[in-house]
């Protein structure tokens, strides 16, 4: 199950962070997302040598914490998407697919002329879309 998704701006400022758990663990998830930014930076600064990853936006598994797996994605505008999941066996393809859909939702949200770049994303439509994507992720990985 996806427990948290986040959008982090290029100055590592949180733009959108949403947890999908019942428990009151927002703080923990904030910390996990915040922490994973270091790994994102590291991945970006030391890219793997292999050729096709040159323009790869998907950063893969950032780090496994005790109970979570954290995946990252970096857009061309250096906006980071972070996914925290409790699933232990996640297929990369699923995550890639998730991020692709999430990215398009994000692009739509920031294309709104009333959105101020660099400010938090407050669009309700975006939130709804994200929760749909998150739900469908749970289904596809379960099935």
């Amino acid at each position: 199950m996806i427990v948290c998704v986040a959008v982090v701006g290029h100055q590592n400022n949180p733009l959108y962070i949403q947890s999908f758990t019942e428990a009151d663990d927002a703080l923990k998830l904030h910390h996990i997302v915040h922490c994973s930014l270091d790994v994102v930076d590291e991945r970006v600064n030391n890219p793997k040598k292999s050729g096709p990853t040159l323009n790869e936006t998907f950063l893969g598994l950032l780090y496994p914490t005790e109970n979570y797996k954290v995946y990252g994605y970096l857009t061309n505008t250096k906006v980071k998407f972070i996914l925290v999941t409790t699933d232990l066996d996640v297929r990369d393809a699923d995550v890639r697919n998730f991020f692709r859909r999430f990215h398009s939702a994000y692009v739509d949200a920031v294309s709104n002329p009333f959105h101020v770049p660099g400010k938090k994303i407050t669009s309700r439509t975006f939130a709804e879309r994200v929760s749909t994507i998150v739900k469908s992720f749970g289904l596809s990985s379960a099935g």
Binding site: N13, L27, H30, H31, H34, C35, D38, D41
Partner: protein, 1289 residues
Amino acid sequence: MATMLGQSDPANSPLGLMLLDEITPVVMVLRTPLVEEACLKNGLNLVELLTPFSTFNNIDVPVRTASDQPYRLQKFKLRLFYASDIRQPNLEVAKEQLKEVITHAGEKDFSDLCSDPPQIEDVLSTPESEILPSWFQFFNKELVRSLSFSDHEAFDHPVACLLVVSTKDERPLNRFVDLFNTNQLPFLLNDGVMDPKILKHYLLVHDNQDGSSEKAEKILTEMRSTFGSNDCQLLCINSSQDGLVEHEDNPWAPYKTDASLSQPLGCFLNIDDFNEIKDLMQDFSSKHIIPHMEQKIRVLNQQVSVTRKGFRNQIKNLWWRKGKEDTPDASNGPMYTFSSIESQIRVLGDYAFMLRDYELALSNYRLLSTDYKLDKAWKRCAGVQEMMGLTYFLLDQSRKEAEYCMENAFNTYLKIGSSGQQNATRCGLWWIEMLKTRDQYKEAASVYFRISGEEPLHSAVMLEQASYCYLFSKPPMLHKYGFHLVLSGDHYKKCDQIKHAIRTYRRALSVYKGTMWSYIKDHVHFHIGKWYAFLGMFDVAVPHMLEVLTCGHQSKTTQDLFLREFLQIVQNTGKKFEVLKLQLPAINIPSVKVIFEDNRTYASPAAASVRESMWQSLEEDMIPSLPTIRTNWLESLPKNISKKHKQSNICVTGEAIKVDVEFKNPLQITISISSVSLICELSASSEEMDCDANSSTSELQNDEESGKLTISREQTSNSSFTLSEADFSLGGGERIMVQLTVTPRIEGILKVVGVRWNLSDSVVGFHNFESNLVKKKIAKGRRKAKHSPSDNLKFLVIKSLPKLEGSIHHLPEKVYAGDLRRLVLELRNQSEYPVKNMKMKISSPRFLNVGSWEILNTEFPACLEKKTDPEQRVQANHNKESHTVFLFPEDTLIQGGTPFLWPLWLRAAVPGNIPLYITIYYEMGDISNIMRHRTLRMYHNLQVLSSLDLSFQISPCPSRLKEFLVRMDAVNKTSSEIFQIHQLSSVGHQWKISLLQPVETMLPSELMPGQALSRFFKLENVRKLTTPEDKVSLLAPQEGSDVKLGSEASNEILFDICSSPLADFHICERIHQEGSHQEHPNSVDFILISQPSNDSINTGLPNPPPHLFSHHVCHCRIESTSPIWWLMEGPRTIHHNFSASFCEVKLKMTLYNSSDLSASIFIHTLDSIPSTSQLSEVMAGSPGNQAGWYDTSLLNDIKVTSDVLGMKVGKPPSLDSVSQFIWSGSCSTKVEVEPMSTAVVPLQICVFSPGTYDLSNYALHWNLLSSKDEGSHGKCPGSPYYLTVLQSA
């Protein structure tokens, strides 16, 4: 060995030094109590006494181990332990010790924690050693030491035994034997873990205070003969008799940690003793220990070579071990005694390691690790791998191999469960040091994380160390640094190490400061605050709690918790906390608005919020332009008002300055705010001059300072002004606009500094209005934009003045369009001084008009009724002043609070939200004041709802010249109001309106909501040719004609549309409705007057004052655009005998020129047949229908007219048929018609056969004879005229 030298020598790395310190030969010390006694005179026990001399930095001993190549050993160290201490430390005791260490460190580090946490940039630039708490090293060392003397490792096993007996002992030789034979020997020797045949060294200690050493010499000789001459030595101590020896660089000091020294260390040891001890230890190491170890290495190596080296031995070993397959899979594996080959290899390896023959050590460890693995002796296996890792590291050969070994060992330790945890920790610490040496901080951090374990205190320290690793990694991983600090802080908190918790959190703060991660930030600040409060440091706690107050993003319960905690802490400080820029509630600074009254006064707050430019344009021609006024009164000012004040705002003593401040609650919970008031300074005018200089110097430099400064000022000068206080509570997310006032009591300079409030009665918040922020708003609202910022909130207070207060009685907020009613303006002046020369101007005369004084006492609407006697009529304000300024009568004086009343007329002209601006100018009766005049500005907003939708349609009467049919359509657009239509009037003397039908036959005149109504009227043009003089007065409706529409007899009266106010309003309406129409002489204005029905469905107002509705529709025009009206006259039906001759019909056309210019008209008859010719033939077939073309209804008439016209345009004339009639006589006639006059033109047609003919195939070309007007000509097609010609018998 070459590898031991050089800069990047691993031996010089922290780990190398640590290993050189920790993995060294152990010497077991056995002594008699008397020896101890002698030593304790110096404040030291025997081991302490000897320890400083058992570390050698330059021992320079040649060593030859297994290989034949000798090498020299420089650094060497012996570890001395009493036999009783050679055992595994108690875990619980060790833990307690560690806890003590941490607590102690916490106290020590806490002193500097009250300062601000450092910036993250500073943290990054500080060297490692300064950031890392020094006690980490100590803690780690203690942790490693807690694992000493384990049975699976050999480096802690004593290499030699030092037996010490005092000369004072009885039978010292026997004592030596007894010492070693007691049961007190450590378990290592007794359990068979190590060889009990250990190198022994006998030492006789002589205390020189007990007499000469002669006896000692004797015993020594005896010893030598018994134990061997090499192994016995004599040590004489305490040679100093007085005990006052001071040692420079006291060698014992670093080893003795507890500072509670009653006497200086080694006070009885003089330089001879000192040297003797030194020599003793040097000798012991180089002549006994090292050779002994060399010897042992060689022996063991020989043994190992014999049993294990070579192909044959390996096969044998493998086979032999396979045979032991059935051994129990215990975590420790099988028990290995000292005589087993495995133990011997281990000893060999460890000895080689300690003598730094790492190659030899490594080969043996390797050999051993496979054996242990096969035996499944995991703990031993891990121990060996650990050593392999260290050996690889010190050899600096294969980094990968070293790390692999460490990881392997670490994992193996973890695998064996809880018993291996401690070992895993030690292994981890060594591994970490290894990684740190190679700058692999990130990896080191993850190892720290892995060894953090279960126990909170332990994991707290480990996590904190991990966090520093992230900080030191290149590039620094600050996010993880912060996170691990927070984790560590939580663990510290769990084991009540609050001070450490605060320390780590504060460090973490430097990471989160300035970021947007508010949840994390709030958490950190809140906990720091809470913990400080827990420690009783409330003053330090408050700033942190302040940080979390504006946590709008948090949940409601969290907000509640934060606020409660904050208030509690503040209460605990025991004083009213004063906080500058308290964030709760938030103040919307751009919304701050200052309203003050100088010579502009306002009747209501709404009036004050109207744009200044609006008022200015209104007052433009009423008061002399402001600059001149200003200079006027400034010129008359005494000189002492400096030029500086010319620009500052002026306010009047006793009149309040209002400041609107918007407070917003950023939280979801309710907060209570009390005692909200302004912070002001007022310097009296007497001291004004000197104050000027002062105030400019004491400008608000420092926020903090000024906050305090103002309070004191306010308290001292409290009597000079009064402040209003407001209390309110703000619900979640609520905004509230609060108006605060300051009323100066004396003349001088008043300065509004800021605002203060109490939050929940315990915190005082301040906010200074930074002038540049307020400036914007002020500049926008006021006329002075070029002020220096500080002047905006600075006021020159002048002495009190009369001030008019005004209000309008009975002004409704909501009316229906057309509503006409009388209002009363009331003016009051509370002051004793009169005001005079009053003028008034109203922004929209269309809606509001000034009445005349007399009607104040008459009854409404009776005063509007048409009087029979023209003398009594109230003359309309024909003068143009109704648009400009109304002058009150010269003798009007208002003073002393007596109300002054004046009537006003209100007429809601059009629907919408209508702002009404009224400004009243007045002058002071008392000329002595510097301000001569003031204006009172009143503003009201009127909501006008649409009521009747009225339209008129005028069409020429087909049968009569100069008469028109008027159709009035009225729709009641309201939802509840019933209108009783009373009268319709046409305005102007040239029109006369009358009913088409008698009143009795008409429908009821009540118009229900939503109902539509149509009425028809006849309108007659009674216009005469006017002289130019008359034309001027055309605008004013002098005359009019009225039609009464009310069906009831009670409504006998007619209202006079020609007198004020109806006439005045009508003029306005005319002007407004003019629009794009140009003034046309043939337009007519109508006024429909209706009354609210008595049984109107009540709109909510209980008893509305009497009112009328008047609807004005102006510039109604006749549909034809031509100024020429004509009428064809002639017979309609003719009998004629066509067999005799064709028929000639004489017709007559009457032309009327309705314009003011004479017209030339050209009648052109066409012989082409209009499209109706076909129709006429059809009609001819039914000659009986003679009366078929008469109109039946007027409504149809209008329609037909238009239809016929349309048909003519639409259908092209058919040219193929021949006309049945021809125009005879002249085919074109031209006539000149004078203005407003008629002309008659005879026409004639010839008809050749019977039938019905449409004689519309002619056109009128008209041309107004005017030189300038180019649009005054046109063409009119003929109107239908049907003629039926019948064959006569």
